[in-house]
């Protein structure tokens, strides 16, 4: 696969994926609320267009630079995440030997982007959202680090391509049953969704997003959807074998398998965000530090024992 | 990109960090000065690793230790700041002058 195809595939996955997440969101909302779905296929585009045509606003004394750049930073991070994912068994757009560590950097910079978005507005609700998000976003990131290191153990490599190859016999989702569920929690946090939506939540009138209108808000929302795609592609790579397909397939079908697996993870992510209740932050912090973090560590130890020669 | 250029950039970072440490009143800003110095040290370490040792792994290990030192400095630094603040409501160096008197 040459570079041009890879770039094209990335962009396509990003645009189509964001739209797909929005469609999934609508289906899930309608199913849970027991109502007809309504305008399903065009609905996301219409909502996006209505944000694009409305007017940009200004808050009182914002930190102008970060106020302008935070949505773009979030979007760029989502793109970096997708660029790291190997589309086929032959490689990714950005193929570096420490790919999974770079994804960790994307995770931590996402916390920075959300914080900057809320802080720079210079208003109460966005600031509270940002502050709260950092408190929950950092420990859940630690959980994901343990989970990802566990996934890298059988591959004996930090490169995503090697991690995919190591799953040729058995996918990590089976080998490390704790991994994917814990990693999905991180996905909810990265995309500010449902049970981990501490930044842009209803009890803050939209949180970090509360003071936004117009095209920048469209970028922010698109970035949230794109981050969901990025995360799902990463989860599909690390736990579901990425572009590996059944034995009868050929290597050229790799991107197709990856897309299908990404869509499955996306559906799980969207379902969780509509079906699960969110706890107050202090309760969530207790859960994170006393249950989830030890659990992920147990998973890491188990993976280490399993991977030992 | 030569070793000389890398080391001069690192020296500039160390000089800036030293300025920060000496000039800032606030504890937290003072810690940022230390961090900047360690940033320069990290760059020097990796420069020597890259140009001076033909990639001996011990150089990278030293860089990891520098990072560990940064984390230690942050953790203990913030704990001390919190402890001092709890007792005196002070978060600047000038406020802590008990030893002078």
């Amino acid at each position: 696969m040459n570079a041009a195809t890879a770039v094209g595939a990335t962009l396509l996955l990003m645009l189509g994926g964001a739209w797909l997440v929005a469609v999934f969101d609508r289906i899930a909302a309608a199913l849970v609320a027991r109502r007809p779905v309504g305008s399903l296929w065009l609905g996301p585009l219409q909502s996006g267009a209505s944000l694009l045509v409305s007017r940009t606003n200004q808050t009182e004394h914002p930190d102008a630079l970060n106020w302008a750049l935070a949505p773009a930073l979030y979007l760029v991070l989502a793109f970096v995440g997708v660029a790291l994912v190997p589309f086929s068994t032959s490689g990714a757009l950005v193929d570096i030997p420490a790919g999974i560590v770079l994804w960790g950097a994307v995770e931590s910079l996402t916390v920075v982007a959300v914080f900057l978005h809320g802080w720079s507005a210079n208003a109460l609700f966005p600031l509270l959202g940002a502050y709260r998000y950092v408190a929950v976003g950092l420990p859940i990131m630690l959980v994901s680090m343990f989970v990802l290191i566990a996934a890298a153990l059988p591959a004996q490599s930090l490169a995503l391509g090697a991690i995919v190859q190591s799953q040729a016999g058995l996918w990590n989702v089976v080998r490390q049953p704790l991994g994917l569920p814990l990693f999905l929690l991180l996905g909810l946090s990265l995309t500010l969704r449902g049970p981990f939506n501490y930044a842009d939540s209803a009890d803050l009138a939209g949180g970090t997003d509360a003071e936004r209108s117009g095209p920048p808000r469209a970028v922010w929302q698109w970035a949230r959807l794109s981050m969901a795609v990025s995360f799902s592609a990463m989860a599909a790579t690390v736990f579901l074998g990425g572009p590996l397909g059944p034995a009868w397939g050929t290597a050229e079908l790799g991107p197709l398998w990856l897309t299908l697996k990404t869509a499955v993870v996306l559906a799980l992510l969207v379902a969780a965000s509509h079906l699960l209740a969110r706890m107050p932050p202090s309760r969530m912090l207790t859960l994170l530090w006393t249950v989830l973090l030890p659990l992920s560590f147990v998973g890491l130890v188990a993976a280490g024992i399993e991977a030992a020669p | 990109m030569t070793l000389q250029a890398l080391l001069i950039v690192a020296s500039a970072l160390i000089g800036l960090g030293l300025y920060g440490v000496l000039s800032q009143q606030s504890f937290v800003m003072l810690m940022m000065g230390f961090e900047l110095i360690l940033n320069g040290v990290l760059l020097m370490t990796m420069a020597f690793w890259s140009f001076g040792s033909a990639g001996a792994p011990k150089g990278q290990l030293l860089a990891i230790l520098v990072m560990a030192v940064m984390a230690l400095e942050m953790a203990i630094g913030f704990a001390l700041v919190t402890a001092v603040y709890r007792q005196r409501q002070a978060d600047t160096t000038e406020a802590l002058d008990t030893l002078k008197h």
Partner: protein
């Protein structure tokens, strides 16, 4: 900045109309029914809205807040007065009685070609700049004062761990989604922990009697679920409530099971908002469970016991918990609980007492 391409406009015109609702007296149920319309989206922040809907009579003390909210809606903006009296100075306001359906007038208002409404407030800081003190904020030195109408953050005791960090004093309300209509609270926040709470204005009391039917209890449950980020489930509650209002048979057991499956009860900390209510101890979980139950109105003759004070229940809670507690009371229950309280004694420069004494101490 906005993008102007004709095809984008056509696409945008088919999106649901985003409304921000300033809920006044006795209008909340009408608004909730309106929000079930697929052509309308009830948004949480005025920054996200196209149309301001003023539903029900707005008290005179809430008028300044209403003006501020209106001016935060991005242009081009429109206002619909639904069962409320427009401000005197407005030219040709669009008025509709609360009994009429609002969805079609909102859709007709929402045309992007026409001009936007002008601001209702002059674009100046809410408090004039006082120019007092060395830094102009009106306090002493760098401390104190009320710059731009907001008290300066000052250190104060922390009820939780004793770390005396800065507190911000803010007024919350009266127009927020899932917030009791008309309630204005003054909160001293340290991070997101409420250190002091004071009721500034009580909520618009219910005038339709103190009846609590299945429908109104389900609506209360919907407000609580929305704060748990269960917006879709909250919508289902509202739909069931609306069906009940139309005298259709409703199945509450399935709804209750769905709420239980979502982990809502596990997510709510046990004992949060615990108080004696109507002669029995209750907390947030038991109240939510009772709302989703089938049994008749539990409040028989509830007037014998003094009601707990809302501000007392909020102190020491995190922001999210505080709002959950507020939403765990029906408007009827909240009626006697949130009585306006006097502001604490203030000094000449409006700093809090402890900050003032601390400064005098320092001099």
């Amino acid at each position: 900045m906005a993008i102007a391409w004709p095809w984008l406009d056509r696409l945008a015109a088919r999106a649901p109309v985003a409304i921000f609702v300033a809920v006044g007296r006795d209008a909340i149920e009408r608004v909730e029914d309106l929000s079930l319309d697929a052509r309308i989206a009830w948004v949480a922040s005025p920054r996200h809205a196209d149309v301001l809907l003023v539903a029900g009579r707005v008290r005179s003390e809430d008028a300044p807040a209403l003006r501020a909210v209106h001016d935060q809606i991005p242009a081009p903006r429109k206002t619909l007065w639904w069962g409320s009296t427009p401000f005197q100075e407005l030219v040709l306001p669009m008025v509709l009685p609360l009994a009429d359906e609002a969805s079609l007038p909102i859709l007709s208002l929402h045309t992007r070609v026409s001009n936007s409404e002008p601001d209702w407030l002059p674009d100046v800081p809410p408090n004039p700049w006082r120019g007092l003190g060395p830094n102009g904020q009106g306090g002493k030195d760098m401390m104190g004062g009320v710059p731009y109408g907001r008290p300066m953050a000052m250190t104060d005791d922390d009820s939780r761990d004793g770390l005396q960090l800065d507190q911000t004093t803010v007024q919350i309300g009266p127009f927020l989604q899932t917030w009791p209509a008309g309630l204005v609270l003054e909160l001293a926040l340290q991070g997101d922990v409420v250190q002091h709470a004071r009721v500034v204005h009580s909520p618009c009391g219910p005038t339709k009697g103190l009846r609590e039917g299945v429908s109104s209890r389900l609506r209360s449950a919907a407000r609580l679920l929305r704060l748990l980020e269960l917006g879709s489930l909250a919508e289902r509650c509202l739909r069931v409530a609306a069906a009940h209002d139309r005298c259709q048979p409703v199945e509450l057991a399935a709804l209750r099971a769905a709420v239980r499956r979502s982990g809502a009860f596990a997510a709510l900390p046990a004992g949060l908002g615990a108080c004696r209510l109507d002669g029995a101890p209750s907390d947030i979980r038991s109240r939510l469970l009772a709302w989703l139950g089938n049994d008749a109105d539990p409040s028989k003759d509830a007037t014998t016991e003094p009601k707990p004070k809302l501000s007392g229940l909020l102190t020491g809670l995190e922001w999210n918990e505080a709002w959950l507690v507020i939403s765990s009371f029906t408007p009827q229950q909240l009626h006697g609980m949130a009585v306006p309280e006097k502001a604490p004694v203030k000094g000449d420069d409006n700093t809090t007492n402890s900050a003032r004494s601390a400064m005098e101490h320092a001099h």
